[in-house]
């Protein structure tokens, strides 16, 4: 049977109660895995390279404080140990807690919450190169303060060489992983409470 990454990350196998529970939503289970495959086994890498995908995946899960980060760390370590090392140096200065950010001016302005607007430092920017550097900053935005998103943020990506299609893929990467890591967190808690 083909590997199911969420089962693997939670530590469930066929026959376990949680395995059977997930089978009751068979399309959700199957397509969560198909999503992973579409993003990480894609043969179409001209708009977003494998290194960019894996660096963004590690960055998303590590910033989120997810136990899935060790899995993506392993994939990135195989692809580019140097990129992983640079991200690990940068991580303590980038970790915070969210969601925070501003609303469009009006009645919700009282709920505006300040927080870190992270950018790569010079060392990381040199190591990652301009395309990946802006993608890492955009990832930080999507992870912690998605309501601060803007047309300007997308223009920054375009100016650094990302195509419209590449931005769609980048956005799906961070967004899908934000889903996957929460399914893993939620089902791991449920697993511990099953009779």
């Amino acid at each position: 049977m083909a590997v199911d990454v969420i089962d693997q990350l939670i530590g469930v196998e066929e026959g376990d109660a949680l395995f059977e529970l997930r089978l009751q939503r068979p399309e959700a289970k199957k397509n969560a895995q198909t999503s992973f495959t579409a993003l990480f086994d894609s043969a179409e890498l001209e708009h977003a390279s494998r290194l960019e995908r894996l660096a963004v995946a590690y960055w998303t899960t590590a910033l989120s404080g997810s136990l899935t980060a060790s899995f993506y760390r392993g994939l990135l370590a195989e692809e580019s140990p140097d990129t992983l090392a640079a991200l690990e140096v940068a991580l303590p200065g980038a970790v915070t807690s969210g969601p925070y950010g501003d609303y469009p001016e009006g009645p919700l302005s009282t709920e505006n919450a300040p927080g870190l607007h992270w950018e790569p430092d010079a060392a990381l920017a040199i190591s990652a190169g301009p395309r990946l550097a802006v993608a890492l900053a955009h990832t930080h935005l999507l992870v912690y303060r998605p309501r601060d998103s803007s047309a300007d943020a997308l223009q920054t990506l375009l100016d650094a060489g990302w195509t419209t299609t590449g931005i769609v893929t980048l956005s799906q990467l961070v967004a899908f992983l934000s889903f996957q890591l929460r399914v893993v967190a939620g089902l791991t808690a449920l697993k511990g409470e099953l009779a």
């Binding site: 397509n31 198909t34 999503s35 223009q155 799906q172 939620g186």
Partner: protein, 202 residues
């Protein structure tokens, strides 16, 4: 020379509402006449070709198709599990927490439609997830959604117990988890690729 984003002149809505909003992208959707069979497979439902949101996402068709099929099973599979109204509540609570005015409008409206409890849903929008909810299942589903949505997550065994003590079985609890988790996917796309337009008729 790099591409340019699309900038809009309208004033985007600045408050949570159950009214119908539109949404406009900041990036160019794929033109209708460039859609191939593979794109239609990614759109899943042919009618979605009329949506600028889905025609933007279909630029990467495989992940869009998998996203939509995941979404449909989490929210529309009615074989047991969490009542549909509460799946929508979970989506609305995540959207309220992340600050996605568009997603919150759609799913608060669906929650009201399914539950017929407009005022309870409106309180979630007006006062936020901490607002009073007297129904223990609603309280537990909202709390679970908020705790999963926070980064890093706050969701733990106490959420499972709260959901269970409110009368939810394991499948319903798994549905609540998936509903909140999925909106952490959807909110990030909707918030970052475009913005809502004012309610029709305002």
């Amino acid at each position: 020379m790099s591409e340019k984003v699309i900038r809009h002149a309208f004033e985007a809505p600045n408050a949570f509402t159950q009214a119908e909003l539109g949404w406009e992208p900041w990036l160019e959707p794929l033109p209708l006449d460039e859609l191939t069979e593979r794109h239609y497979s990614g759109l899943v439902d042919k009618g979605r070709a009329n949506s600028s949101y889905f025609r933007l996402l279909v630029r990467d068709p495989d992940i869009l198709g998998a996203r939509t099929r995941t979404d449909n099973d989490i929210f529309y599979n009615e074989k047991g599990g969490l009542p549909r109204a509460q799946r929508e509540l979970s989506a609305a609570a995540a959207s309220r927490t992340n600050g996605c005015i568009f997603c919150a409008s759609v799913h608060s409206r669906f929650a009201t439609h399914r539950s017929k409890r407009h005022d309870d849903v409106q309180r979630l929008l007006d006062e936020g997830p901490g607002g009073q909810q007297d129904d223990p299942q609603w309280r537990a589903v909202i709390d679970a959604s908020v705790d999963l949505t926070r980064t890093p997550g706050d969701f733990d065994a106490s959420n499972i117990r709260q959901l269970r003590e409110a009368g939810l079985d394991d499948l319903a609890i798994a549905d609540a988890i998936h509903g909140a988790a999925f909106f952490n996917w959807a909110n990030r796309l909707m918030l970052s690729l475009g913005e809502p337009t004012p309610p029709t008729g305002s």
